[in-house]
């Protein structure tokens, strides 16, 4: 029986463990130092907002691990010794392994701003960050969030739920316009403002000021405005959490470098999830993918590989989702912030300004490339199949109604969308629709 040890009990590590258990009797140990049991990081905001308790965010009940013979060690790994297959833990404990899987996730970025280490300046990634935020936000009136991404907007929503005023500094022209095309970015920016967030676009953080007691007093922006606040949220992205691997002999760059089998330069050491940097290209994907789904998929494939059927990480068409305050967002395929030279686009927005769809296709072949949908749920299965089959944009529109995933009695917009499309691109729709 071989001994498999996984560092990190996030979605990546836990998925790997579960899938290994499905096809093998090997010993499985997960070492992790954040929480004793796996919880859903994506639900951190809901704990703060009182939608759920921490208990509710655990996808498996506590008995699950024992029943599936997955040993849990609640400890921090300080170093990995690859010569003798041993982990050195903070408690002094040593753990040996035959196979090691690194699934250590990320940590929030800090860019060396003056004052970034003051009290009440924080990021949001871990359960400890959440507890810190609970403390830091007690009795305060005003907060500033730096960095207009997904975690930034979650943090804004969290603070709003406690009636704390939020100023939101965003470097880009509109909220998340480094990822979203301008139309959608504007739509969301407006929505953010409608929730009484003081959204400052094209504004960066210059420094954070001390109140004389080591706590935040306020900040100064790149436009030289001073903003008084008692909490600063730094949400300017995350980076792989790999500093403890420096002297391990495992090759790292920004993340742990892996090949298609998620294998590092050391044959019995694999890496998956947020902490990974791929050494090979996958079209339309970054080399470091820091989302839930990719962590899960890597966990699935690494389990196959370790259990004897080497399986490459070959994700299908890209998909993702998020929620911006009240607006749900789903995306399938690739929609870039800037239209590429070979691409055409069609954007539809509902008059209520809470629903929108953005279609991208290849101009010459008319092959559908991607969609952003706001306020309308779409069927993953359909879009996945259409993208794989390289269906045309007209096919996608003709079948759009089949892909609707909104609940019964919801207003349907397909006829309106198709009409608008037809007006703009009369030559593209096939006869069956006209």
């Amino acid at each position: 029986m071989s001994k498999i040890v996984i560092i990190g009990n996030g979605i990546a590590g836990v998925t790997a463990a579960r899938h290994i258990r499905k096809s093998s009797n090997d010993s499985i140990t997960i070492v992790s130092s954040e929480t004793e049991h796996f919880f859903s990081r994506t639900a951190l905001m809901y704990i703060f907002m009182g939608h759920m308790k921490f208990e509710n965010t655990k996808p498996y009940e506590d008995w699950f691990w024992k029943k599936n013979k997955i040993d849990l060690v609640y400890d921090h790994v300080n170093a990995v010794e690859t010569q003798n297959n041993t982990l050195i833990c903070r408690s002094g404990k040593k753990i040996t392994f035959d196979t090691l899987i690194l699934a250590t996730g990320s940590q929030p970025n800090k860019f060396g701003w003056p004052g970034q280490d003051l009290q009440c300046v924080q990021g949001l990634y871990s359960y400890q960050d959440l507890q810190l935020m609970e403390q830091n936000s007690k009795g305060i009136k005003k907060a500033v969030i730096v960095g207009g991404g997904l975690i930034g907007i979650e943090m804004a929503e969290m603070l709003l739920s406690r009636n704390i005023e939020v100023t939101f500094l965003v470097r880009e022209k509109e909220f998340w316009s480094n990822v979203l095309p301008m139309q959608e970015a504007k739509l969301i920016s407006d929505h953010v403002r409608s929730h009484h967030v003081d959204l400052r676009l094209e504004t960066e953080l210059l420094n954070i000021q001390d109140n004389g007691e080591g706590k935040v007093k306020g900040i100064v922006t790149s436009k030289n405005e001073s903003i008084e606040c008692q909490l600063v949220g730094l949400t300017v992205g995350v980076s792989p959490s790999i500093s403890f691997l420096k002297d391990s002999g495992i090759k790292i760059n920004r993340g742990v470098l892996v090949n298609e089998l998620m294998q590092t330069n050391i044959a019995n050491v694999y890496a998956i999830g947020d902490c990974v940097e791929r050494t090979y290209e996958l079209s339309g994907r970054r080399n470091i993918e820091q989302v839930w789904y990719t962590g899960r998929m890597m966990g699935e494939v690494v389990a196959q590989t370790i259990c004897g059927s080497p399986t490459k990480y070959e994700p299908g068409p890209w998909f993702n989702s998020a929620k911006f305050l009240d607006i749900e967002y789903q995306t399938y395929g690739n929609v870039s912030p800037q239209l590429k030279a070979n691409e055409s686009e069609f954007y539809w927005e509902h008059s209520g300004k809470k629903k929108a769809m953005h279609f991208i296709w290849d101009t010459s072949s008319q092959v559908f490339i991607g969609i952003n949908s706001f306020g309308i749920r779409l069927r993953h299965e359909k879009f996945d199949a259409w993208l794989r089959a390289k269906q045309s944009i007209s096919y996608v529109l003709e079948h759009l109604a089949e892909a609707n995933f909104d609940p019964e009695f919801f207003r349907r917009h397909e006829p309106e969308i198709i009409q608008a499309f037809e007006k703009q691109f009369p030559h593209l729709l096939s006869l069956s629709l006209k």
Binding site: G50, R379, P407
Partner: protein, 517 residues
């Protein structure tokens, strides 16, 4: 706006306080005239001597007065039993009727005014509290601070409310004489609907129930105004409770027809096959009664399988049913308190099916007795050993005291999940022969847990969603809240062809991985 809400809350609490304190307001004097008009002729002679001591004496509250009456009658009964004079035992509830007739004080003098103050004030206060939400909060899921609130998370307000509700049910079912003032309070409404009728504890209950469904239904409509599914469904339970369960039976009685709730059905309606009920419908009910009898049977024999096949159990449980109606409106603030553990699911399956079997056996025996004109089956007295325990343990304790009283402690569907025999029957059909399922959306689940947390039936929805498997569970009442609260658009209640309903556990998006399990 916040000011309006605070004022509203205070008005509501004042109305509630007035309502509660009403129980202690009156005093009671029984006169010989009242005695003679309310006590049955055949009992008067025996009761008169022992009642003499009570006449014209003023009692300061219901508890003392009702007890006095009860004890006085009971003393006689004990004597009769000792002498084995069974025919002399008096079963009539004189405590209730005499207390009502002997009540004096403001509740009698200002009944209508008090009614308006309490229920008008209560409604006004509640609406002032609820309506401003429209402008304070944008439409969308707003579960902010639920787990921080002492009402919604078993804090002191929840415990206090639970205690109040439990006490209310115990009084209502077993000590109705103590709540005579409330029965009198709703008399004006009763007379309005049916001038010849008298208010009773059941009319009081029906009214309060409907009141709760309507007021909290309005709250629900506002809270979920972004979701047409929730709006339509809520409007539906409000309609069925108000029109079909509350008003129509009263109107039928006014028209000299049998009292009948067209949307209730066996086995939830466990006295449907009681001899008195069958007789009421078939013998004294005329053609309307006969229609009701046939309707009642058709509903559960044909209606349940057909509708569950096409729509799922939800057509009844979260669109029509009264228990469901209360759970989905008044119970909405407590849905997150249901137990999601695997253990709870095990208990649930045992318990709810046991109740169903109990209901079937009990009804079978009752029907057998009815047809054969006997009182027992296999030497067991049906009433004492089956029908009465069912009525007490299941009808009163489980569905009432526990089912509703425990809302703030165990969630709003305790009865529906653990106790309702009709739910078990509907669920059986839903599990094995239906087009209904909750579809999960490819690989989009982020395991956040909102769906499981807010599933009032304690279904661990996430367990299915995160492995990409459809949810087909007999207990799912199709409330659609899991779908509403999911922040990633993963869940959808759908009816489609039966084939492939259970789905295969596969998460879309990973080429390397083929079907598992």
């Amino acid at each position: 706006m916040q000011v309006a809400r605070i004022i509203g809350l205070n008005i509501f609490l004042a109305a509630l306080f007035l309502f509660l304190s009403l129980l202690f307001f009156s005093d009671y004097t029984l006169t010989k005239e009242i005695f003679q008009s309310k006590v049955k002729q055949e009992h008067q002679q025996r009761l008169l001597p022992v009642f003499e001591k009570i006449f014209d004496k003023t009692y300061p509250n219901t508890f003392v007065f009702a007890n006095e009456i009860k004890n006085t009658v009971e003393d006689l009964n004990v004597e009769a039993r000792n002498q084995q004079q069974w025919d002399q035992v008096i079963y009539d509830d004189y405590a209730g009727t005499l207390t009502k007739a002997s009540t004096q004080g403001i509740i009698v003098e200002y009944t209508l005014l008090l009614f308006i103050l309490i229920f008008g004030g209560g409604t006004l206060g509640a609406l002032l509290f609820i309506l401003p939400k429209i402008s304070i909060e944008a439409p969308g899921i707003k579960n902010n601070n639920i787990f921080h609130h002492a009402l919604n998370n078993r804090g002191w307000i929840g415990i206090l409310l639970g205690t109040l509700l439990i006490s209310f049910y115990i009084l209502l079912y077993f000590y109705d004489a103590y709540v005579t003032n409330w029965i009198i309070l709703v008399e004006p409404l009763k007379k309005l609907i049916n001038p010849n009728g008298d208010s009773s504890q059941w009319f009081l209950y029906g009214f309060l129930y409907t009141f709760a469904v309507i007021v909290m239904g309005i709250r629900m409509l506002i809270k979920y105004r972004h979701s047409n599914y929730q709006m339509v469904r809520t409007a539906s339970v409000m309609f069925f409770q108000l029109a079909i369960a509350f008003l129509l039976p009263e109107i039928l009685v006014r028209l000299n027809q049998p009292y009948f709730d067209f949307k209730n059905m066996w086995p939830l309606d466990y006295d449907f096959f009681d001899a008195w009920h069958i007789n009421m419908l078939t013998e004294s009910g005329g053609s309307v009664g006969l229609f009701m009898f046939v309707w009642g049977i058709t509903l559960f024999v044909v209606g349940v399988p057909v509708f569950v096949y096409f729509f799922g159990k939800r057509w009844y449980c979260s669109w029509v049913c009264g228990c469901g109606g209360l759970a989905e409106t008044a119970g909405d603030p407590f849905r997150q308190l249901s137990d999601k553990s695997l253990k709870a699911w095990k208990v649930e399956r045992w318990m709810v099916h046991a109740v169903l079997i109990f209901a079937i056996v009990m009804t079978g025996a009752v029907l057998y007795n009815f047809i054969t004109g006997t009182n027992s089956i296999f030497g067991i007295d049906t009433y004492t050993h089956l029908r009465k325990p069912y009525g007490f343990f299941v009808g009163a304790i489980f569905s009432g005291v526990v089912g509703t009283g425990f809302y703030p402690l165990m969630g709003n569907r305790v009865w529906c999940r653990f106790g309702c025999p009709l739910a078990a029957y509907l669920g059986f059909v839903q599990r094995f022969k239906s087009r209904f399922r909750i579809t999960t959306n490819g690989g989009q689940c982020i395991s956040c847990g909102n769906c499981s947390t807010y599933c009032e039936m304690g279904i661990d929805v996430r367990w299915y969603a995160q492995r990409g498997q459809n949810i087909v569970r007999s207990s799912c009442v199709g409330c659609g809240v899991c779908s509403s609260v999911c922040p990633r658009g993963v869940l959808n209640l759908e009816v489609k062809e039966e084939e492939g309903r259970f789905g295969k556990p596969i998460l879309i998006g990973n080429n390397g991985i083929k079907l598992q399990d």
